[in-house]
Symmetry: C2
DNA sequence: GCCACGGTTCGGCCTGGACCGAACTTTGCC
DNA sequence: GGCAAAGTTCGGTCCAGGCCGAACCGTGGC
């Protein structure tokens, strides 16, 4: 029992409502400054700074100084995955299809750095049923046909090359309770859709706007099955 | 932000070392009494009882009274999955191949109610590469060939019928950092292997003993790929 | 009925830590 | 250099909650 992983050390930083809110804000995948997080959570700079230090210390966030700003991000996709898992479990226990809460958030949103929500689940399902994704011993992977598809979608050979970070990752969507695509490929696909103006980020929200052109294009490229 | 899931409420019960230890003990999938948990964690009955109440209150555990005993279990596979995810992230950050800590635990152990460790990962990989598992929109599923295989292994039609709880579930192994099989099927396969005396539980540990006969049989039925 | 045992509740002690205002440091801007 | 803004540190207050021993309640065994 001595050498076992210390869960409490990981849970304690997340056990405070203010820090939990910070982490949820950071789930948009962007970098926030300490004061921004303070304002968003209704705390003074002092408190926000202390909370940020605690999250950094636990390895849940990384910081990067730029001039007099300090930008905070989630430390890794693995951390984002943990948060998403917790959100899925902590989510008010259905049926909340009745209360749409924030319909935009349910339809399409950022999950750290990839697409989540109904649209993210649709994309995953589309890729999966067309045989582009396969579950291999090493985790979720791209099939040869999936590889070709991604290239036709504008990704490069280099994008899809093996690397330390997993290319595909299975991420449980907290609103849909189904898988969507994370990992490097999730990030790349999102970036490509943004650069083609199919999706646009909004300020102050994780929700993504689907442009009319994007809606049509997505339905064609990632047809629901 | 108001209607978003409350992570802190989920993290707080896990933020205490004693409660974290309790939850880890319960990862063996068995039911423990309050005093057993108290003894195992070095606390008095009073403290153990308070901790248990807190975990119950958070919905992480369920309790069942039997006579003057109160048996505690993890509330659901989803909870077990969360704990496993946290263990994977909290695990001392490699390379721990050097320190085998507990080799038996690494080779084969219980993860809530299914097989984990190197053997669990091998089993998953074997099923996966032989095309018995497939990733569908609704999550991990059993293919037609996988279905046939399971029946040949002694599972019944009823076992494999659709139900509310997912049949297959992808569970990240904290020691191997790869997937192993959870869900109802994970539980059923483990039960079958136990009933054939391929695996045996040990007292006071999550580690499983692989019998000589089991070792041979597993290599044949679930050949490493 | 009596006792033993599992579990809970209570009171008291004490520590951790959440929060703030204020002072301080660093950086960028002019 | 002077000023403003970002962030940290410090001192102080306050409360949640972790821990225990002791008293208490229910159940089972005799």
């Amino acid at each position: 029992m001595t050498g076992s992983p210390n869960i409490a050390r990981l849970a304690a930083p997340l056990a405070d409502p203010a820090r939990a809110r910070m982490v949820m804000l950071l789930m948009d995948g962007r970098a926030w400054t300490v004061t921004e997080l303070g304002q968003a959570t209704g705390l003074t700079k002092a408190s926000a700074s202390e909370h940020a230090a605690r999250l950094l210390d636990a390895g849940l966030l990384t910081a990067k100084r730029q001039g007099r700003h300090k930008y905070l991000r989630l430390a890794s996709p693995a951390v984002a995955h943990l948060i998403e898992t917790m959100m899925a479990l902590a989510a008010p226990d259905q049926p909340q299809s009745l209360g749409p809460r924030d319909p935009a958030l349910r339809e399409a949103r950022l999950c750290y750095n990839h697409l989540a929500g109904a649209l993210g689940v649709q994309l995953y399902a589309s890729l999966s049923t067309r045989g582009f994704l396969a579950h291999t011993p090493g985790g979720l992977g791209l099939t040869a046909r999936g590889h070709a598809f991604c290239q036709s979608f504008g990704l490069t050979e280099a994008d899809l090359a093996p690397a330390r970070a997993p290319l595909c990752r299975d991420c449980l969507d907290w609103s849909e309770r189904q898988s969507h695509l994370g990992g490097r490929l999730g990030r790349l696909l999102l970036a490509r859709m943004e650069s083609q103006d199919w999706l646009r980020r909004r300020d102050g929200s994780r929700a993504l706007t689907v442009t009319p052109v994007g809606r049509a294009a997505i339905a064609q490229v990632f047809p629901p099955c």
